[in-house]
């Protein structure tokens, strides 16, 4: 009558949804000197993902770029192993076309690509590329300069709604590849209604006893986030909560914590007033990975 227990959970594990975290191709649009700071970021990400770098050159003289990269401010190391593609037609359309053709693709580009806009907008090419809602992209602020980029601290901005879940897997995956510290940041917002999406877990409205409520809430938050993104268990995953306006708080936390990368979900629109995504990209002082989430 005694026998080994059947492994029921094996069947369950096999049925778990796998999070799409793999990246095989990284697309780097080059439009001029202002876009060069994106290169170290793209190179490092290629190394971490073991991905192929695709340089999209917008302008004349692609062969010069291939053969004499120094004329463009690049080193031979910057473009080693890269695939070059010269954009024909409108640069954003070329980037979008290539991005669609390449499987498991990530765009890395400067916020300042193209003609500079007034007000809060990014470069014209950057804006147009994002109009097409790339599934995953890293925006690099030009002010960081063309210097070596390391990845030791990742900040995952999570608003507690299921819309943010798609960012979790990529953040955790990248943290594991880079052996980086990962902190999930949740901002308890002022002036905003509680999220209505089912399965949301915003900061608690009732904190009856903080010494019980916060550890319990943090555990629940992390379990939901993990269930949504299934990161590897080896990742060092912390949770931090602050109060205030979401965009400015995430940006401030990124600076205070010397984050090397912010990862956040992006709803696909950022032209509304007080858009948190723009505030983070503008103010974080580090590259920001946007993971498109249709919600």
């Amino acid at each position: 009558m005694q026998a080994a227990l059947p492994d029921w959970n094996h069947a369950i594990r096999g049925a778990k949804p796998q999070c799409a975290t793999a990246i095989r191709n990284i697309v780097l649009p080059l439009t001029g000197q202002e876009t060069l700071p994106a290169i170290p970021v793209a190179r490092k990400l290629c190394e971490l993902y073991r991905a192929t770098l695709h340089v999209i050159y917008v302008g004349e003289g692609l062969s010069d770029l291939r053969e004499q990269p120094a004329r463009f401010g690049l080193t031979a190391e910057d473009v080693r192993g890269a695939v070059f593609d010269q954009a024909s037609g409108e640069p954003p359309a070329a980037v979008t076309r290539l991005a669609r053709e390449l499987p498991e693709m990530l765009i890395v580009m400067s916020t300042a690509a193209g003609q500079q806009n007034e007000n809060n907008r990014f470069g014209s090419i950057t804006e147009s590329v994002f109009d097409a809602h790339p599934p995953r992209a890293v925006l690099v602020p030009p002010e960081r300069g063309n210097v070596t980029w390391t990845l030791q601290r990742i900040l995952l901005a999570h608003d507690g709604t299921p819309i943010s879940d798609p960012a979790t897997g990529p953040a955790a995956d990248l943290a594991q590849r880079a052996r980086a510290e990962l902190t999930a940041l949740h901002v308890a917002a002022r002036g905003e209604e509680r999220p209505a999406a089912r399965g949301s877990i915003a900061a608690p409205l009732y904190v009856d006893q903080p010494h019980h409520e916060w550890p319990a809430w943090a555990e629940e938050f992390m379990k939901r986030v993990l269930a949504g993104g299934a990161p590897p268990s080896s990742v060092h995953f912390r949770l931090a909560v602050t109060g205030g306006q979401a965009g400015s708080e995430v940006a401030a936390a990124a600076r205070e914590r010397n984050a090397d990368l912010v990862v956040m979900a992006w709803h696909g629109h950022w032209d509304h007033k007080d858009c948190a995504t723009r505030a983070v990209v503008r103010g974080a002082g580090c590259p920001v990975m946007l993971v498109y989430s249709a919600g």
Binding site: G191, R198, S200, L205, Y206, P210, H211, E213, A227
Partner: protein, 813 residues
């Protein structure tokens, strides 16, 4: 064909309301040869049901809490039997706390082995929501009968359609019994089905005993599987006996097998089924502990065999009858507001489920037996927020809860001594022993380690316990209970207050270094709530001593000798109470919440609206202490508890002053504000706060019921209706009412018990009716109307006119 269920698949929602498909639970009743249920076991009235339609993985922990079943002795979360990525199945026994020998460890309600696991294999493939297509899925909590239902219709990747109907209950008639029944129907296929019923402990820190046991060889008699655990940090064991019984409509005999290792026991049964066959798996779990039984293992095994011999149907019927009885004395009906109606029944269901009238050595934790949050610890929540429900609907349960405070008096005395005080200083948090169990530190959201001061400074819990004792005695008139259990609490708490503060040169008795109910302000002096209630406690202590001397002199002599009370000490309480510093301004009619409150930085809370988090999260722990933001009802709560001692203008002035400054950062706050707003006639605020109170657990976006339901908020909701909107107040000779119904309510009715009389109150916009039963008459009062002495068997009616109420008229029911 493969499809993982998601929110868009099955339109999930938690609400009342009937399932969209015909009530599958009726399947149980259609098969009389196999059904274990009485014919009237199902209800389709949405006002008695909580329904979770579909499946949302992210909400699973919350759903498990809301759909928990319990009977005061045991509780079981509403987890999925086959599990999911976020499932956290848990069973608890009241009073069973584990404590590990690690620094900073405090006792925690022990999570017992998962006994709910039922895994089904169809042709060696597991039936799971992660594979195939979920055609229908819902969980239904039937408040009326105390039953958790689950209906699941599933198509696997080969097109086989399976229907499952399960129910689970924690018997209210036999508190050691949990019952789980699964009905399986192969709709369109023939196959071999394998049922695996298991009980498993996953906590490797828990020592497991392996009882001597041999499986039965007779296929017609179910095995009783044993498991016994030692409770870490306690000299206690918990024993389980689990039996599984498989019946099929085709009468097919299954093949059974046992699997057992140190931490898991499982019984598997394989049976060949044809399309349309119904298989019924009945699972019975008996739990006993060594707290009350010398051989819990033998008792649990014997108990299961007894139940099997009597039949599961008889147990289910007894359970249903008990719930019927409890609802007869507790159900509040609000006609015209179905959402509120459901919230009220949800509240009453969880409160009834949480209390055990047969055990005076346990109390109700902040999250009941529905979750492990707050570690099962007992707070003032029980006495101030939950107890009134029990006092007026099931006094025996109230007595058991107060007995817990009596049995833990020695620990409260010990705590007082450890701080250099006299009398009894109740712990802010307590578990099985009554010792202080508040953790010493907490890690704040920003990572900072903060010292937790509540165990040392939030001392109002001592007077909250005393207030509860007195309230119980006033409402029940139970002299025996008062002099046997209550009086000692009244005396020892009064003694504490006489030692906790000091008479200072200004001639006042000050109580410094406290935390009031407004926990945003720590370590303050002369908190108005604390001082008002302490003075009340001192006076009632003095009154208790006088009553004992006059009416129960033998008991007084015994207490005075054992506790060394002198006449001088007792009489000094009057002067201490008279000298108590009460920060009251007769000009403004306001109580200053604590010394220096008015100097705090003003925050306009409206400028933060809408907001998605508590104010201390937005402003920060240190910053909020510098502001005048109040966490929860503090002075406002005192005006309710001491209603007869505080004038109407003062009550209204303080409500108007403090209500706008209250951030409601505690789930205990909205209900009390609804109550007060209803009483002072602010219908708009009353309605808004009532809605907020009703949604604390049931709102779909709160996210913090994952660790269990908010029991104090549930008790507060009941109080808001009865004490607030019905305006119920106990008086010395009877009861009074001041109805303040909302415009869309057609009727508000509820039962009450007062000093041995049973009342059924029914309020309509134009009339109030009270039916009275009980040997002694009582005085019925209505705001600004004449009283009437109401006697047994009569119904009394008062009609509303434009100018007030007409006099009571007696009518035969």
């Amino acid at each position: 064909m493969n499809r993982v269920p998601s929110p868009v698949d099955v339109s999930p929602d938690i609400h009342g309301g009937r399932a969209k498909s015909p009530c599958e639970r009726e399947l149980q009743a259609r098969d009389p040869a196999l059904s274990v249920l009485p014919s009237n076991f199902c209800t389709s009235d949405p006002r008695w049901l909580l329904l979770d339609e579909g499946f949302t993985l992210a909400r699973e922990h919350e759903t498990e809490s809301l759909f928990a079943i319990a009977n005061g002795y045991m509780g079981n979360r509403g987890s999925l039997a086959e599990g999911s990525r976020l499932s956290a199945p848990a069973t608890f026994v009241a009073g069973i706390f584990e404590q590990f020998d690690t620094p900073g460890s405090v006792p925690a309600l022990m999570v017992l082995p998962d006994w709910t696991g039922v895994r089904i294999w169809i042709d060696r493939r597991p039936l799971t929501m992660q594979q195939g297509e979920v055609l229908e899925h819902r969980r239904i909590l039937d408040f009326r009968h105390g039953v958790l239902w689950r209906e699941w219709r599933h198509r696997d990747s080969d097109g086989r359609i399976t229907r499952l109907v399960t129910f689970r209950l924690a018997s209210l008639a036999d508190r050691h019994l949990l019952l789980h029944c699964v009905t399986f129907i192969a709709e369109n296929y023939n196959s071999v089905i394998r049922f695996e019923s298991s009980m498993e402990t996953t906590d490797l820190n828990v020592p497991v005993r392996v009882p001597e046991w041999r499986p039965e060889r007779n296929a017609s008699r179910p095995n009783v599987l044993p498991l016994e655990l030692e409770v870490p940090g306690r000299h206690e064991t918990v024993a389980f006996g689990l039996a599984s019984q498989l019946l099929t409509s085709s009468r097919a005999a299954g093949r059974r097998a046992m699997y057992k290792d140190r931490r898991k026991i499982m019984e598997a049964c394989e049976v060949e089924v044809r399309a349309g066959t119904h298989c019924h798996l009945h699972r019975l779990l008996s739990v006993y502990t060594s707290r009350y039984h010398s051989n819990p293992f033998a008792r649990s095994m014997e108990h299961v065999r007894d139940v099997l011999s009597k039949g599961v149907a008889a147990e289910a019927a007894a359970h249903a009858a008990q719930w019927e009885s409890r609802w007869n004395s507790a159900d509040i009906v609000v006609e015209g507001d179905d959402a509120l109606q459901r919230a009220l029944r949800f509240a009453c269901y969880h409160l009834i489920s949480a209390a055990n009238p047969d055990d005076g050595r346990v109390s109700i934790g902040a999250r009941t037996l529905s979750g492990a949050a707050y570690k099962g610890h007992v707070f003032w929540d029980t006495e101030t927020y939950m107890l009134p429900f029990f006092i007026y609907t099931h006094p025996r349960s109230a007595e058991a809860l107060l007995e817990y405070r009596y049995h833990t008096l020695e620990a409260a005395r010990s705590k007082a001594r450890s701080f250099g005080f006299r009398g009894a200083m109740y712990p802010w948090e307590s578990a099985d022993t009554g010792d202080e169990t508040t953790p010493a530190n907490v890690i704040a959201p920003n990572g900072e380690v903060l010292r937790v001061l509540n165990g040392e400074l939030e001392i109002h819990i001592t007077t909250d316990v005393a207030y509860a004792v007195w309230q119980h005695w006033q409402a029940t008139g139970d002299d025996h209970f008062f002099q046997r259990f209550g009086a000692e609490i009244m005396l020892e708490t009064a003694r504490f207050w006489a030692s906790r503060g000091a008479l200072e040169p200004d001639g006042f008795y000050h109580i410094r270094h406290v935390i009031g109910p407004d926990e945003y302000h720590e370590d303050v002096d002369d908190n108005a709530f604390t001082n008002l209630m302490a003075a009340w406690n001192l006076r009632r202590g003095l009154e208790t001593a006088g009553l004992l001397q006059e009416r129960w002199p033998e008991r007084w002599r015994e207490l005075a000798a054992r506790l060394q009370f002198s006449d001088d000490e007792v009489s000094s309480w009057q002067s201490v109470a008279a000298a108590m510093f009460i920060p009251f301004d007769p000009e403004t009619l306001l109580y200053e919440q604590f010394s220096g409150y008015y100097r705090k930085q003003h925050v306009d809370l409206k400028s933060y609206e809408p907001r998605s988090a508590a104010m201390d999260t937005i402003l920060g722990h240190d910053a909020i202490q510098k502001t005048d933001v109040v966490k929860q009802a503090d002075v406002v709560l005192a005006t309710f508890l001491l209603w007869d001692e505080i004038g109407p203008e003062v009550r209204a002035a303080n409500f108007r002053y403090y209500e706008p400054q209250t951030g409601h950062g505690s789930s205990l706050s909205p209900s009390i504000h609804a109550l007060l707003a209803a009483r002072i006639g602010d219908r708009h605020l009353a309605e808004a706060y009532l809605k907020q109170a009703a949604e604390i657990d049931l709102g779909n976006n709160m996210g913090n019921a994952a660790g269990g339901v908010h029991a104090a908020a549930l008790g507060g909701l009941w109080q808001a209706l009865v004490f607030g909107f019905a305006g119920f107040r106990p008086r010395s000779e009877g009861v009074s009412f001041a109805p303040a119904l909302l415009p869309h309510w057609r009727r508000l009715s509820f039962p009450l018990q007062w000093r041995g009389r049973r009342l059924q109150i029914s309020m309509e916009p134009a009339a109030i009716r009270v039916r009275v039963s009980g040997e002694q008459p009582l005085r019925l009062s209505l705001e600004s109307s004449s009283d009437v002495m109401a006697s047994d068997g009569h119904e009394y009616v008062a009609e509303r006119t434009e100018s007030g109420w007409r006099a009571w008229q007696a009518v035969r029911p």
